[in-house]
Symmetry: C2
Subunit: 112 residues, 2 copies
DNA sequence: ACCATATGTAAGAAAATATAACATAAAATT
DNA sequence: AATTTTATGTTATATTTTCTTACATATGGT
């Protein structure tokens, strides 16, 4: 597996995200309201974003410029997510099958 | 060259760094005063740190627990940095030599 | 003994963030 | 055409964060 650490850790405050993306804080909060991004919160309620949130926001900004509405952006996101999950599921199933036919057997390690 | 993007981008505010490292803001600022870390600043003067700053701070915290003083930590840092630079220099020199003997010649590309 | 180190704490000011509300143009829906 | 939704700006007020400076102090070096 890769190193998800940096890219996905939610550590960036909204002001910095705004600088990074060129979006107003208003817009960033609104896209959250529209369920396009899901920042975490600090104890006292401050939003924290990850680099992948930032990237997603830049994608959103592009789409918006093309006139795509948040609702549709959301639909696309959900579709893409589902496709991802299906792919993972298929992979898991395949691995399961391979294990069933050729994997190690219970209580009998490496042919001994 | 690699992708220094995430690890080295200075985007984390001091409060989050404090959470991440367990150090007090006082300590973090003090280590800056002692020239162990070099955050950037926002327009209005807020400190911004990178993930590698965070890692360095955790190393510093370890050293401090072992009783090492900031001054010595700094010396070690400088020594390590110098060693790094020397290594790079040697590499560059070696590449230079190889180019001189076997590299492409000026105004005469690939033996034509 | 004296100086340097390392941290805590307090004060006050400036900046960042949060939420809620009102305003509004443009686009979509009925 | 009238109405509703979308997307954003703006304003107001409260809370939180951050900054700098200063004072306090324990511990360890010189």
């Amino acid at each position: 597996m890769e190193e998800p650490s940096y890219k996905n850790r939610k550590v960036i405050t909204i002001g910095v995200v705004s600088e990074l993306t060129g979006l107003s804080e208003r817009q960033i909060r609104y896209y959250e309201e529209r369920k396009l991004i899901f920042p975490e919160r600090t104890e006292r309620g401050n939003r924290k974003y990850s680099f992948s949130d930032v990237e997603r926001l830049m994608d959103i900004a592009d789409k918006r410029e093309e006139g795509v509405r948040t609702y549709e952006i959301r639909q696309d996101m959900l579709k893409a997510k589902k496709k991802e999950e299906d792919k993972k599921l298929r992979e898991r199933m395949l691995r399961g099958q391979l294990n069933a036919r050729f994997g190690v057997q219970k209580g009998r390690l490496n042919g001994k």
